[in-house]
């Protein structure tokens, strides 16, 4: 369940998950207000959904993840 747990962490918008973002966005996110964090997660969600819609998915330990989710998983390792 290693990948799964990391995937779940990412869905929470953890610090590691934010590491994919541009530096200035990450910096801002780390000091994020609730609104900023919500907006960040909203963008992440839109990107992930878009990848699912276009079939840009990979499988990790059987889980069907969007490419962005998988990359975040890799960065969590």
């Amino acid at each position: 369940m290693r990948y799964t747990r990391r995937f779940l962490l990412i869905c929470l918008g953890c610090a590691s998950g934010l590491s994919l973002m541009p530096r200035h966005a990450r910096a801002r996110a780390l000091r994020a207000t609730p609104d900023e964090l919500a907006a960040t997660l909203h963008r992440l969600d839109a990107r992930v959904r878009g990848e699912f819609a276009s079939g840009t998915t990979v499988q990790l330990n059987g889980w069907v993840l969007s490419r962005t989710e998988a990359r975040l998983c890799a960065l969590c390792r």
Partner: protein, 514 residues
């Protein structure tokens, strides 16, 4: 009226306009409809009103291909046939399901509505949005989505031999001969017409039947056995001049646990798959590939249902399969699956709990899938005569059921498409189970007990056994009813389409008399 053939005088001859062999869904439907059109009908049934072990043993045969239920347990041989233990799932074929057939949906559609009533179903409505409610709704249809929603209707299920027994007994011109077994089909010297049937009881008594039209409605395996055994004139069996008889045998393989789904426990989209009463019907949702995806990906017709494993706490809850699923499985298999599901939940629930509590803000729901499909027709998947004879001296059957080598890959691809659609809709995530994840779903593979394709419908006798009117190629007055005429198999219980085809055949037989 009912006639116990054991009480007929020796060498008795039955005379009727139409003689139908087999009193299952097809035979009973056809007999009732023809009798209502003022035809005299003889309905020949091997069994009696109730189950009898000696009669049931006539189904015995050898299985040499893919694992299959013993042939003398897979079907039922008494009044009502296999409807005596069917599950009741019904669905109308769509246009793509009929691709490859010599008839289209327009030819079947007029008969589906009355078939719906005969199967005691609710409103004739297969539009998924019409079966939406506050707590159960289909996944949102999105442009470019891989899958589309559909609904199965559930019959009570109709036990044809019980529900229509009074009709059979009272219909003018209709006689049902019980305990009567077809042992030979007599033909003209050129085998272009059937001239009579030889029948026998298990006690050895023999008699005959004569009619203008003959219909075999004995099931997807037995129809073949009867034709192959009738080899006095055509040495390879009646209707088998091009070695098509018995080929393309197919059942619906299904797998429970092909994927694990994490989604909100109270998700209306997940509840859509739950069997539930609504508007005087009992229905359940499913997902199938869109026509575009089926064509693009060369996938077989399939349906995926999603059902909850129960329990949402951090500790795995006891798992019990839904009754409908459990009834499809042997006790040993059901227990095994429940054990497996419990283990899967133990592994999944804790992180899932955490995720859903934080992100979806409600307890998690853990679900599994049921995948059922109709693989492409395979001429090597076939029924032939085997060794040995039954109590009536008829040669037994040999079944070689084959599945495509890429069956599991196609199932995994179907679940991948499901994962993409659930991710796109933000409804959840899918884990495709395999031997690599430690939960090999192929261990849970079973089959639907639907025997199809062995006398397939095709305009060309080199590619099929019956024509578009269900008439055996080359034989003017011999017809076949039932799922053995299916050219392809769709992905669901064939009963309602069997009934619709029987009604269509009734129309055709009537037209021959005018």
């Amino acid at each position: 009226m009912f006639v116990d053939a054991r009480k007929l005088s020796k060498n008795f001859t039955i005379d009727a306009d139409v003689c139908i062999v087999g009193a299952g869904a097809a035979g009973i439907t056809l007999a009732r409809d023809l009798a209502a059109r003022n035809r005299t009908v003889a309905l020949i049934e091997s069994g009696g009103i109730e189950y009898d072990a000696d009669t049931q043993a006539l189904y015995a045969g050898a299985v040499v291909g893919h694992d299959f239920t013993p042939l003398d347990r897979d079907r039922l041989r008494f009044l009502g046939g296999t409807t005596n233990h069917w599950g009741g799932s019904c669905r109308r074929f769509d246009a793509l399901d009929l691709e490859g057939w010599p008839i289209g949906l327009d030819a079947l559609e007029p008969f589906y509505r009355p078939a719906h009533e005969i199967c005691q179903l609710g409103p004739y409505d297969y539009e998924p949005m019409d079966w939406s409610s506050d707590d159960a709704r289909p996944m949102p249809a999105a442009t470019g989505a891989n899958l589309k929603s559909g609904v199965f209707h559930y019959s009570p299920p109709t036990r044809f031999g019980t529900v229509y027994r009074n009709d059979l007994n009272s219909a003018e011109g209709l006689s049902v001969y019980l305990n009567a077994n077809l042992i030979d089909i007599e033909t003209s010297d050129s085998a272009d017409r059937v001239t009579g049937l030889r029948l026998a009881c298990l006690d050895g008594k023999q008699f005959r039947a004569r009619a203008r039209h003959y219909v075999l409605a004995a099931g997807g395996i037995e129809n073949v056995r009867l034709l192959l055994n009738a080899n006095r004139v055509q040495k390879t069996g009646l209707g088998n001049q091009f070695d098509q008889l018995g080929r393309y045998f197919m059942d619906h393989p299904y797998v429970v646990g092909g994927a694990t789904v994490l989604a909100a426990a109270s998700s209306p989209e997940m509840r859509f798959f739950t069997m539930r009463p609504m508007r005087g019907a009992t229905i359940a949702g499913y997902l199938a590939a869109t026509d575009e995806v089926r064509r693009r990906e060369h996938l077989p017709p399939f349906a995926i249902s999603i059902f909850t494993l129960g329990g949402t706490g951090a500790e795995p809850a006891p798992v019990a399969l839904p009754p409908a699923i459990r009834s499809m499985l042997s006790e040993a298999r059901a227990n095994k699956i429940e054990y497996y599901l419990s283990r899967a939940m133990a592994e999944l629930e804790k992180p899932a709990d955490w995720l859903f509590d934080k992100v979806w803000r409600e307890p998690p729901g853990t679900y599994t899938t049921l995948y059922i499909c109709g693989p492409d027709p395979d001429p090597q998947s076939r029924v032939t005569l085997g060794d040995g004879v039954d109590a009536l001296g008829m040669r037994k059957i040999r079944l070689d059921w084959r599945l495509p080598d890429n069956f599991e890959q196609q199932m995994q691809r179907a679940h991948e498409l499901l994962g993409q659609d659930l991710g796109r809709a933000g409804l959840g995530r899918v884990r495709i189970e395999s031997s690599a994840t430690g939960h090999d779903p192929m261990e849970n593979m079973n089959h639907g007990h639907h025997h199809m394709g062995t006398t397939r419908m095709h305009n060309d006798p080199r590619n099929g056994v019956v024509d578009a009117d269900c008439r055996v190629h080359g034989i003017g007055n011999l017809f076949i009813a039932g799922s053995s005429v299916f050219t392809t198999y769709a992905c669901d219980d064939p009963t309602m389409t069997i009934v619709a085809l029987a009604l269509r055949l009734s129309d055709h037989l009537k037209s021959l008399d005018t």
